[in-house]
Every structure is written in structure tokens, then in C-alpha cells.
């Protein structure tokens, strides 16, 4: 039934695109509402009929995965939730996949955020990923939630020398001095890896500039697709690798599933989103082609009329 649905949807989409191509060849412009309709239909059909593709990690994502793999157990990893709900579908899956990977390897997690909305999103990760999938993980010993702190880069400027100057307590009001995870942690320099997830300001770029580079701490940024090109200049020296957009998250999820049998049946939202994204990209490319064919036809006609 699903297959029939997929075939019917593909037939409708490509049939429709062909009809629009013919329409466009007659020198008519395509109304934007028709384009909207095609994007809606292609994305909806991929969601409804579960159009999914296999993913394999590109080297830039693999480097992050392998870095976590090769860290000795009980390494300290800081994850910063620097995003809001608008960016959530794109970057939250990578944060969740990273949490799974870090905990299965026995690393210690420090969760914080430079965006006010980040605290609620890290709570979601704790409640829906960390606690159900790792019931043996103990708060304060295996993970800690520092929460949100106002001050943008100012926060980073301080925690690079002393966490306690900025965070006297965790998000629940417990003093850092009574949290075992902070027994041998003074500053962000004591982290073995920092995974800032986001796409705005402050975000992964600020982590590189204010903590990673001056503190010589490895940074593996998880980014929204639109800002990924801006972070490439920092790779590979200041950023050990990077996860860009839904594709980066899907690659990380696929790598996790491939390497760890216990994650075979966990939810993989990024992999599921690759279907709709692929369909949307196909439709956009088709419209670009149609637009150009129409453009060249019009130009040729004008040239012929001129002669």
C-alpha cells in the first residue's frame, strides 16, 4: 500500500512538473502558488508514505563520530543548546544522537545553553532521550544540567577561566561544589570536547572564538544548514569536524545505528526528514530547470524577432 502511494505521488509530482514545463514552453510564467502547492505535495507525500533513503557519513561528520569513539571512557563533554524551537527540527536530532553516543561510550555530559529557549530544549533531551534510554545514568555523576545564562559571549569569556564565577549552581539550584561531576572541573578548558549546537549568535562560532581556540579545547559544532558554510573556514584546525543541517544529523544517526545494535530501533527523526528534504530539493531543481528553459525560449524568440 505504501509503495503504491509512493508511486502515485511520484507520478503526480513528475506528471505535474511535465505539464508545467509544457505550460512554461508556451512563454507563460508559473504562478508562485503553483510552486507552493508542489512543495507542499512533495513534502507531504514523503512524510505520509515514509519515503526514506539510506545515508552514509561524509568525512567531515565521520571525524566527529570517530573523535567521540576514540575518547577514553569518562571523558568530559560539554553540549551547549544554543538554538530555539524554530531551529529545533534541524539541530535537535543531532544533539539527541550525540547524547546517545556520548553516554553509550561512558562519557560525562555537561549540558548548558546560551539561548533562553535552550534550557527547555535540553530538558526535552533529558526527559525523552537520556532518562528513558539510559536509566542507569545518575544526575550529578553522569550528566549535569547547568541551564541557561544570559550574557552571550560574556558567559564564554568567564567560563573559560572559571565555571563557578558564572554558574554558582546548576539549573536546579544545587551548588556546583556539591556536584561530583565538578570535583575536578574548574573551567571549560577541562573539557575533552565541546559540542555546541545552534545556528545563530551566540552559537558555535562564538564557542570556537572564545573557548575552543584560546583554550585549546576541541570543538565539534552542530549547525543549522544555512550557517554551515560560515563555519567551514574553522575546519579542520579550530573545529575537528562539523554536522551541517538535517543531512549532518542524518549522517550521524546512520553512523550510530551502523555501529551500535542497541540504537537500531531508536527514533531517527533526521533520517526520516531526509525523504521530505530530498523531494523538496528535487521539486526546487525541477522549477529552476523549467525557469531556465522558459528564459532561454523567451530570449531566443526575442532574438529571432529582432532579426
Amino acid at each position: 500500500m505504501t509503495n503504491i502511494g509512493v508511486y502515485i505521488s511520484l507520478l503526480l509530482i513528475f506528471g505535474g512538473l511535465l505539464a508545467i514545463l509544457i505550460y512554461s514552453l508556451k512563454g507563460r510564467d508559473v504562478d508562485r502558488r503553483i510552486i507552493f502547492l508542489f512543495v507542499l505535495f512533495s513534502v507531504a507525500s514523503a512524510i505520509i508514505f515514509h519515503i526514506e533513503f539510506e545515508e552514509s557519513a561524509t568525512p567531515i561528520v565521520k571525524k566527529v563520530f570517530e573523535f567521540v569513539e576514540n575518547l577514553p571512557p569518562e571523558s568530559k563533554i560539554l553540549i551547549s543548546f544554543d538554538f530555539d524551537p524554530a531551529m529545533k527540527p534541524e539541530v535537535h536530532p543531532m544533539a539527541n544522537a550525540f547524547v546517545r553516543h556520548a553516554l553509550v561510550k561512558g562519557h560525562k555530559l555537561y549540558l548548558m545553553g546560551l539561548w533562553p529557549q535552550g534550557q527547555a530544549l535540553m530538558t526535552e533531551t533529558i526527559e525523552y532521550v537520556l532518562k528513558p534510554e539510559f536509566p542507569n545514568a545518575v544526575y550529578g555523576e553522569d550528566y549535569v544540567m547547568l541551564g541557561y545564562k544570559a550574557g552571550n559571549e560574556g558567559v564564554l569569556n568567564v567560563i573559560i577561566t572559571d565555571f563557578r564565577k558564572m554558574y554558582s549552581t546548576d539549573a536546579h539550584g544545587t551548588s556546583l561544589d556539591s556536584i561530583p561531576l565538578f570535583d575536578d572541573v574548574k573551567s571549560a578548558k577541562d573539557m575533552d570536547l565541546i559540542f555546541p549546537v545552534g545556528g545563530g549568535k551566540p552559537g558555535p562560532k562564538e564557542w570556537i572564538l572564545f573557548v575552543g581556540d584560546p583554550g585549546n579545547v576541541p570543538i565539534a559544532p552542530g549547525l543549522a544548514a544555512v550557517v554551515a558554510p560560515l563555519i567551514y573556514p574553522y575546519y579542520p584546525r579550530q573545529a575537528i569536524g562539523l554536522l551541517g543541517g538535517v543531512k549532518g544529523a542524518a549522517e550521524y544517526e546512520s553512523e550510530l545505528k551502523k555501529n551500535y545494535k542497541e540504537f537500531e530501533n531508536v527514533e531517527t527523526p533526521a533520517l526520516q526528514m531526509m525523504g521530505p528534504q530530498t523531494m523538496a530539493h528535487i521539486v526546487i531543481m525541477a522549477f529552476i530547470v523549467i525557469g531556465n528553459i522558459g528564459f532561454f525560449r523567451a530570449r531566443r524568440r526575442k532574438w529571432q524577432e529582432g532579426n
Partner: protein, 224 residues
């Protein structure tokens, strides 16, 4: 005096923050100034909240166009503030606003998250429409841009590998995902680095102007 004191503050803080990077004895002062900034940043929340309430109350009072939306904004603002400050939950009062049963978390998960995601997702429709109209091979530069966009679009999906996966290993650079990575790693990188260096130099020049008091535009005009 109204203009001299802010200029002195900017000069002192700017100088100390620059020196704190190079001279360890000044580092502590740099951290203290960062902490002062964080304290001031918290006050911005009060100012922002107060400003929001004032603007929307005036709009409702004067019954300006679309004043109904201001009512929605204010109700949303005060309800969220109340459940957050009161730490209200289904069971009464919760220990933390981030607890899963707290009303604040419920509002966040069920209202803010879907609304924000929807607004962001609408971009896909506009990007599709804009691509159709803008990506035309009108000249050589536009054609290069068009080809690069095509490769990136294909490279960001599994379709790219499906289409060019047959290319032998020794020519793997021609596989679309690898081409997409090359575009990001070579032309994009070169351009971005050039921009970054330019911006960096600009920031240094601008900072110097601010520290030396040559640029006072941040204080507003003399007539203010």
C-alpha cells in the same frame, strides 16, 4: 558630562578587555568586566518586557489597527510570566520550571515549538519560489552560481550519490556529494576566509575608533 562619562567607560573597558588577552595580570579585570556585562544583560530582559507591555498597551488604548493582536501578545506574555514565576504545574507548584509537568514546559512544547517551527518551515516555500525566479543563467557569473547551487542541492540529498555512485573510485571527486564538499571546502572556504579577514580588520579599526572616542554614534545624536 552626559557624553563624556559614557566615552570614558567605553575607553576604559575596551582597553582593559584588549589588554586582558595579552597581559595575564589584567586577565582578572577582563573577567570582572565580562561579569558586569552579564549583570547588565539581565536588566535588558526587564527593559524588553517593560517596553513590550508599554507599546502594546498604548496600541490597545488607542485602538490602533490590529490592536486585537496586541491583546493576544499581552495575554500570552502575562500567562507565561505567571506560570514561570509561580512554577505552576498540574500538581500545583513544581520544584523547577523545566520539570516536564510544569505549565511553562507544556506551553513551550505545545505552543512555542510548533508555532516557531511552522514559521521557519514556511521559508521552504519562499526559497522554492525565489529559486525559480532568481536562478537564471543570464550571464557567466549567474551560470556558475546556478551550477554550484544545483550541485549543493543534489549533494545535500542521498539522490546525489544514487545518481553518481557508479563513478569509479579514482574519479570519486566527480561524485556529486564529493563535488558539493569540494565547493564548500575550496571556493566557499576561500571566499569566507577573505570576508572574515576583512571583517576582522574592520572590527579592529572600529574598536579603536570607539576606544579612542573618535566614534560616538552609539550615544545618539547631539539633539537627543
Amino acid at each position: 558630562m552626559k557624553r563624556t562619562i559614557p566615552v570614558i567607560i567605553v575607553s576604559v573597558v575596551g582597553t582593559v578587555l584588549v589588554l586582558s588577552v595579552f597581559f595575564p595580570p589584567v586577565q582578572t579585570m577582563g573577567e570582572d568586566f565580562s561579569l558586569f556585562f552579564d549583570i547588565i544583560a539581565v536588566f535588558a530582559f526587564f527593559l524588553g518586557g517593560g517596553n513590550l507591555v508599554r507599546i502594546h498597551l498604548v496600541k490597545i488604548y488607542r485602538k490602533r489597527p490590529d490592536w486585537g493582536f496586541s491583546v493576544v501578545t499581552l495575554v500570552g506574555f502575562f500567562v507565561t510570566l505567571l506560570v514561570g514565576l509561580g512554577k505552576l504545574s498540574v500538581t500545583g507548584v513544581t520544584a523547577s520550571v523545566t520539570a516536564p509537568d510544569s505549565f511553562l514546559q507544556t506551553i513551550f512544547v505545545n505552543i512555542i515549538t510548533p508555532l516557531s517551527s511552522t514559521m521557519y518551515a514556511l521559508l521552504a516555500f519562499y526559497v522554492a519560489s525565489a529559486s525559480y525566479r532568481a536562478f537564471r543563467a543570464k550571464n557567466r557569473e549567474a551560470t556558475i552560481l546556478l551550477i554550484a547551487a544545483f550541485i549543493i542541492l543534489l549533494g545535500r540529498t542521498p539522490l546525489g550519490m544514487k545518481l553518481t555512485g557508479w563513478i569509479p573510485e579514482w574519479l570519486s571527486i566527480l561524485q556529486i556529494p564529493n563535488l558539493a564538499v569540494w565547493i564548500m571546502n575550496a571556493p566557499n572556504l576561500a571566499g569566507q576566509r577573505a570576508i572574515l579577514i576583512g571583517v576582522g580588520l574592520g572590527v579592529v579599526a572600529m574598536s579603536l575608533r570607539l576606544i579612542l572616542g573618535m566614534d560616538r554614534t552609539y550615544l545618539g545624536s547631539d539633539n537627543d
